[in-house]
Symmetry: D2
Subunit: 343 residues, 4 copies
């Protein structure tokens, strides 16, 4: 069994890691930390895990974590970078579900996240954990930066088009929508039920932290600069995320359906829907699947891609488990075969 530590277990991504690892055939969680809840049984906070998880939260302890084969950080931005160097030096593999190691450019990271980076020298060692692009590197990685939710949905939606050089890269529009759980389990007014229910709104139009992350990914694939407009919106549902992607087509004659199907034919967690489809977020709820549909309506000059994921699973916890599987030489799909519960 692979032994696992989880730092920061009281948020939604931590709870999802617990659920997924409880059903994983080859992983065993040894420690789950929470400064504020040390001593509390995990299933007292998350009664849905009664019978499945028999652990208590503990104070984070580097020695205890270093004894694990792999440690997940499900912590607020800025936390993982404090502990990562010591754990790496101890030989522990790390997957950070936060943003500390997602951007390769230190200055950009510090500007967007508003703090100094604690270990900029480790950024070059981090592999960006999007298996559909970086599978080989992830297999060798000691430190994986698990992608953000929006960046996952957007990158998977545009990847075939950008790789094929088919779209004008200076006028991309990503109109994205997320369920409220994306804001985490922190007590705050804007995500109260009374505020978020029966309401729809955009946020962060002036610039969201996932913008540089998306741009970095697309620019690495494109090999050049990308002009991107990215607007996130808040949907009155708990889980689910859709990226609606608009791109001017350089060549309107290519069969986009065929292109997408070919690109993702071997991917276990990307499902290209039949032509004419509109993916539904609920079909991926709780799963590691990304469902995609591509359209080329009217005059054919604009490619529209709809990409849906569950923001807490393929957008966070289950993608982290997928990365764990790769890093530990397991079947990439181990523990990730669940089907969405519908309706």
């Amino acid at each position: 069994m692979i032994t696992i530590g989880i730092v920061g277990g009281t948020g939604y991504t931590g709870a999802e890691l617990l659920r997924l690892l409880a059903g994983h055939p080859r992983a065993e969680v040894r420690a789950i930390t929470s400064r504020g809840n040390a001593g509390t049984r995990v299933d007292a906070m998350f009664p849905g895990l009664r019978g499945a998880v028999d652990l208590r939260f503990t104070e984070p302890d580097v020695a205890e974590l270093a004894a694990c084969d792999l440690v997940f950080f499900a912590t607020p931005n800025g936390t993982a970078m404090q502990m990562v160097p010591e754990l790496l030096d101890a030989g522990t593999r790390i997957i950070d579900l936060g943003a500390d190691f997602r951007l390769r450019d230190v200055a950009s990271w510090e500007a967007w996240y508003g703090m100094a980076h604690a270990c900029p020298e480790r950024l070059a060692d981090a592999v960006y954990g999007l298996p559909e692009i970086h599978r080989a590197s992830i297999r060798e990685a000691r430190l994986v930066a698990n992608p953000g939710c929006y960046p996952t949905a957007v990158a998977l939606g545009w990847l075939p088009l950008v790789e094929a050089g088919l779209v004008g890269l200076d006028a991309l529009v990503a109109d994205c929508k997320s369920g409220v759980s994306g804001a985490g389990r922190k007590a705050q007014v804007p995500t109260l039920f009374g505020e978020a229910n029966e309401n729809f709104r955009a946020y962060g139009a002036a610039g969201h932290r996932h913008l540089p992350e998306i741009r970095q990914t697309l620019e690495r694939v494109a090999g050049g600069p990308v002009g991107l407009t990215f607007v996130p919106h808040l949907v009155p549902m708990t889980r689910g995320m859709q990226a609606s992607l608009y791109a001017p087509l350089a060549d309107a004659t290519v069969d986009l359906q065929e292109l997408f199907e070919a690109r993702y034919a071997e991917e276990p967690f990307v499902d290209v829907l039949p032509a004419g489809s509109h993916p539904e977020t609920r079909t991926v709820r709780g799963t590691n699947m990304c469902r995609i549909a591509v359209h080329q309506p009217q005059d054919g000059r604009t490619a529209i891609v709809f990409s849906v994921i569950d923001n807490l699973t393929k957008g966070a916890a289950s993608q982290a488990v997928q990365n764990m599987n790769l890093m530990c030489g397991l079947d990439e799909t181990a523990g990730l075969s669940g089907v969405a519960v519908l309706p």
Copy 2:
């Protein structure tokens, strides 16, 4: 008092007309028709109207309707055009909340709506009921085609930019989101609670009937062809609509905030939010208000406009009452001063 008939009173827009007219100081509903529910008390079907509406549904009767000063059609597409000529000839004014008179081009109408038009010769008499553009004509009109919900939100959002000639008209993207009530009160599987709740999806990407209506409006303002990508999405909430509008700016130096505030300074039902805002659909719920914010992020080359309305009020019933007020020489805001109930 202005005497009113409503044809088709059992849907959501019919019920909203009843609510709004019950609180209107100068209008009195004399007849409300429903073939399937003739004889039923209105407040037996809509208990929220107990004490406010003391009417029974009746079979549609042209003579009875013709005796009213004004008749609203809150009927499925294709119904109003059957009765409109006779009522017009009888001197009754008409507001059609359906689509029968929205498009000026008969061929286009017949192609998008899949049926022959019953009175194409009357199309030229119909005034498109968007007061912010056609106020003067509406005042004189005998027949008003009340705009669709998406076309209202989109047109009001882009109007200042298109009038000012500031945006590239060949690459407009309108990513729109609507609450489920937009699909009406018809029994059908896709809008069951179990299907629409906790789910987000696009629909109609290949071409939605509101596309030609939006294009017609923008082209009349622009005086030339418009290249528009329009995608509607379904949001798991009952009411509310947001248009997120993306347009390449021809001139990145114009002060868009000032432009929008100036354009709508005198409009009673368009509220331009302070710079940096993100309008919330709930703030317009049940009202005739459209709230708009304009952004010009990052390199400044793209104008982003967020326009929110309530799909059943400014997107249907209350805009119809606004048109009634104009047609009947009343204060344009009569009966429309309600404030959204929050939370």
Copy 3:
């Protein structure tokens, strides 16, 4: 115009008071206080009030409040009692939407609310503001204790039966359900969207603060002790409350429908539905109405009453305005004629 002060304007009941008073023909809000948000425009916090409320939050100032004809306290429990004596002495009338003056027994209040009462000598002056029972006293009151939401729904549901002495008072069961806004606009985990959505649960089964309030009301009407089981539940909706009331009937032959209709025939805000009905919370949303249905199924030995209100209006803010109307000699229904926005 009646001049109004509101202490504590940033919660849901404060916002509702603002909405209702903005549409009131005879009241004018002069001051609305918030320690934490003094200086902020009200419509910056509540954009739905743009154009309807032109005020800024101020620091609470007794002199300024004392200059108003009437002051509403929309504050956490324990706040009003600190300021009430001074304001009463200054001749200002007061309606407390909190619980400080609801219980007549000081010891009971201090036990349930866990603090010493700051002005127990004023409790006897407070009138319990349920107009359907205490209308005459409210008209004369200087200090009104506005009822809690559950106590309003429960009392109105059982009132005809208890007044008529028809039910066994030792085995009453009140199974009550509330929308999430009942918990207020305070940042806390349990009422986050992610926690409350798609979930149903009871709470406070061991004893909720509304229990002694309900019992006090029923015992005053019954003139003797009442054995009551009261369990509140949390419903995944923003607004609305239903009390499902079960009581053993002492006499199974009485016509309960007739009894209820007679009791409430003159009440403007209690609507007894036709026999066999099931009231819906949405039909009273945003209104001051209580809708009631009474059933006597199967063997006829148990009376079932369903009583629905909007927890934030008849359960708080609009009932407070109803009390204001009575205290100030206005039409009891002034400003309270709004109809629920459906769907």
Copy 4:
């Protein structure tokens, strides 16, 4: 592998059977029927099953079904009884998720369901499929009547008290609440999103079909007549059910917590929560678990039990799989170990 047929695969319980059986280690679905959708791929109707179910709907064919080891009926009431005799005679085992075989009394069944029973002579052969009461009989059964959702939640909640003879059986109150999916996937107005969202209401207070089923179960356990008031309510959520159960205690000194824990100590799918708990429906979503808490507040004379299940799983499909496991000699928990996806 156990070979499986499913009759009626286009409703919510049929879809849930497919999901559960797709993950079952010992069962294989060979046929799934739908008159209206024969020929359609299952995953075209339920895209969440893409990659998990590779079947098309077929016309119901008795020979094909008889070739299966076991057939589930997920059909409207009155359908299964038409085919059951022939299949039983062919040696096929049957689990009916409908109501055709739930009541032992033919006259009562015909009165409540409003039709003649097609095979009353088979009623005596049917075993009521609540494993916590009838496990041994289910193991031997050829025909299992899978319990209704409300009857499951209510029976499990009261079972320990009724078995122990602790409650007065003439004054039981079951106030039950269900998510909207309980009404099925049929197109109808009352369960449209626009009707059910942001709304709470009771229904069926005059008498619901689950009432005789609950009474039959309790009376068999009690060995005598039961006086039961049962009221179902509709909650604006997709899944989940809570029974709030009120019963007068004959003996207020018994330790109810201990009683419940002892009764369910060996039950794999009944989880008695710690004293003072309030179970949440979301903790059992998509699972076969029933979570129960028992309270004895105030004067101790009333036992309150909260029992939560997922109406579509323990209240239908997963309980059917549990019964299948028992009937086929498999591990009772096979394929049923999933944990609720939270939030």
